[in-house]
C-alpha cells in the first residue's frame, strides 16, 4: 500500500501529461453555441476529459498510468470538496434558509424511476430494468443491488450497465445538459445547482461548472447549493434508495409487467415480443 503511493507520486509521465492537458485546455478556454433558445457550453474540463481518453489509446499512456490516475481523481475530488466547504461557510445562512428545498430535492432523484423505468420496459428489458433505473448507480447503489440480488443476477447486470455509462460519460453528459436545460427551461439556475449534487464529485463539478460559466454572477451561490446538495446526496442517497427508491421501482415494475402481459394476451399471441 505504501509503496504504491510512492510509485504514484513518481509516475512523472502521468503528471506531466495531466499538467500539459490542463495548460492546453485552459488556454483554449470555453466555447458556447446556441441550439434553439438553449445554450450548450463546452468547458476546458470536457476537452481535458476527451483528450485524456484519447491519449489512453496512444502509446503515451500505458496501463500503469491509467491505474495510477485513479487515486489522483479521488484526492483531486477532496480538494474540490474542501473548496466547496469554504464557499459554503460564508453563506451558511442563505443555505439554512434554503434547507427545505435542499432536503426535499433529494426525492427528485426518484425522477430517474419515472423517466427511465417505462423506457427500459418498453425497450424489452426484464428485471435488469430494476437495477438500471432505481438510482444513478453510483458505488453505494451498486453495492446495494449486489447485496440484495447478487452479482450475476439480471438486476446486477442492469446496475452495472448504468454504472459503466456513468463512469465513462456521466460527468460529460450532465455538464452538457445542465447548461442547456438552465437556458431552455423556465427553471432557475439555482434549482439546477441543487440538482447538480447527484452524489458524485466529478459529475457535480461538470454540471455546476456549466451553470457557473453561463451565470457567473451567481457563482458562489451555485457552488454552495450544488456542494451542499452533493453532501446530502452522499450521506442520505443510499437510505432513500433502500427505503423508497428500490421498493418503488420493484412495485412499478411489477405493475408495468402485469399490464404488458395483459396487453400481449389480449392481442392473441403473446410471449414472443421481446425476442
Amino acid at each position: 500500500m505504501k509503496n504504491e503511493k510512492t510509485e504514484i507520486l513518481k509516475d512523472w509521465r502521468l503528471h506531466v501529461i495531466a499538467l500539459i492537458l490542463v495548460g492546453i485546455t485552459e488556454a483554449v478556454g470555453q466555447f458556447s453555441f446556441k441550439v434553439g433558445s438553449g445554450v450548450i457550453l463546452l468547458l476546458p474540463m470536457l476537452y481535458a476529459f476527451f483528450m485524456g481518453l484519447g491519449l489512453y489509446f496512444s502509446p503515451l499512456v500505458k496501463e500503469k498510468q491509467a491505474k495510477n490516475a485513479e487515486p489522483l481523481i479521488i484526492l483531486g475530488v477532496t480538494l474540490l470538496i474542501a473548496k466547496i466547504g469554504v464557499t459554503i461557510g460564508p453563506q451558511i445562512e442563505a443555505l439554512i434558509a434554503a434547507g427545505p428545498a435542499l432536503l426535499l430535492q433529494e426525492l427528485g432523484n426518484l425522477g430517474t424511476i419515472f423517466f427511465a423505468l417505462p423506457i427500459a420496459v418498453l425497450l424489452g428489458f426484464k428485471r435488469e430494468s430494476i437495477g438500471m433505473t432505481h438510482s444513478v448507480a453510483r458505488e453505494p447503489n451498486v453495492g446495494l443491488i449486489m447485496n440484495k440480488f447478487g452479482f450475476d443476477s439480471p438486476e446486477g447486470r442492469g446496475v452495472m450497465a448504468i454504472y459503466i455509462f456513468g463512469t465513462v460519460f456521466g460527468a460529460v453528459f450532465l455538464g452538457l445538459i445542465s447548461g442547456f436545460l438552465a437556458t431552455i427551461t423556465p427553471l432557475h439556475p439555482l434549482s439546477f445547482a441543487m440538482a447538480s449534487g447527484v452524489g458524485s464529485g466529478s459529475m457535480m463539478a461538470a454540471a455546476s461548472g456549466s451553470l457557473i460559466g453561463l451565470f457567473p454572477e451567481l457563482e458562489s451561490q451555485i457552488v454552495a447549493f450544488a456542494g451542499a446538495s452533493n453532501l446530502i446526496s452522499l450521506s442520505t442517497g443510499l437510505y432513500v434508495s433502500i427505503f423508497i427508491g428500490l421498493p418503488l421501482t420493484e412495485k412499478l415494475y411489477s405493475i408495468m409487467m402485469r399490464r404488458k402481459e395483459k396487453k400481449a394476451a389480449g392481442a392473441g399471441k403473446g410471449g414472443d415480443m421481446n425476442v
Binding site: L14, V61, G76, G89, I92, G111, T112
Partner: protein, 150 residues
C-alpha cells in the same frame, strides 16, 4: 500514519500544481496569489483523510472535509476572513479540469466494458441521468419559489 500524511500531502501538491497552472492560464490568477489558498485546501483535505482513518465511525473523508471547510470559513470562526480571501483565489473550474484530465486518462480502462453496452442500455442510461437531474431541479424550483428565495 506519519508516512501516509506526507504521501497524501505530496500527491495533493502534485495535483495542486496542475490546478494552479490552470488557474493561471485560464483565470489569470498568478501562482503567488493562488499558493496560500491551495495550501489551505490541501491541509483541509489531509485532516479529513486522517480523520477517516482515525475515527472509528464509518464516515467517508469527503464528509469531514466538507464540514471542516464550512466550519473554518464561517464568519465567526477566528481567522475565517483569511481562509475565505485566500481560497477565493482558487477558481473551482480550475480544480475540476485536472480531475477530469486524470479521469479521462484512467477511464480508458473501462472502454472495453463500455463498448459492450448495447444501444438500448445507453438510451436507458441517458434517461436515468436526465430523470434524476430534472426531477431534483423541479422539486427545488417548487420549494424555492414557495419560500420566495427565487
Amino acid at each position: 500514519m506519519f508516512k501516509n500524511i506526507i504521501e497524501w500531502f505530496l500527491i495533493l501538491l502534485v495535483f495542486g500544481l496542475s490546478a494552479i497552472v490552470g488557474n493561471w492560464v485560464g483565470y489569470d490568477v498568478v501562482p503567488s496569489a493562488a499558493i496560500p489558498g491551495m495550501l489551505v485546501l490541501i491541509l483541509i483535505s489531509v485532516v479529513g483523510l486522517v480523520l477517516e482513518k482515525v475515527v472509528p465511525v464509518n464516515i467517508p473523508s469527503v464528509g469531514y472535509i466538507g464540514l471542516i471547510g464550512i466550519l473554518i470559513s464561517i464568519p465567526w470562526f477566528p481567522g475565517s476572513e483569511y481562509v475565505v480571501r485566500w481560497t477565493s483565489e482558487i477558481n473551482i473550474l480550475a480544480l475540476a479540469t485536472p480531475i477530469l484530465a486524470y479521469a479521462g486518462i484512467s477511464i480508458g480502462k473501462n472502454w472495453a466494458d463500455f463498448s459492450k453496452l448495447g444501444w438500448r442500455s445507453i438510451i436507458v442510461a441517458i434517461f436515468v441521468f436526465f430523470g434524476t437531474f430534472i426531477g431534483s431541479a423541479v422539486i427545488a424550483e417548487i420549494i424555492l419559489r414557495m419560500q420566495g428565495i427565487i
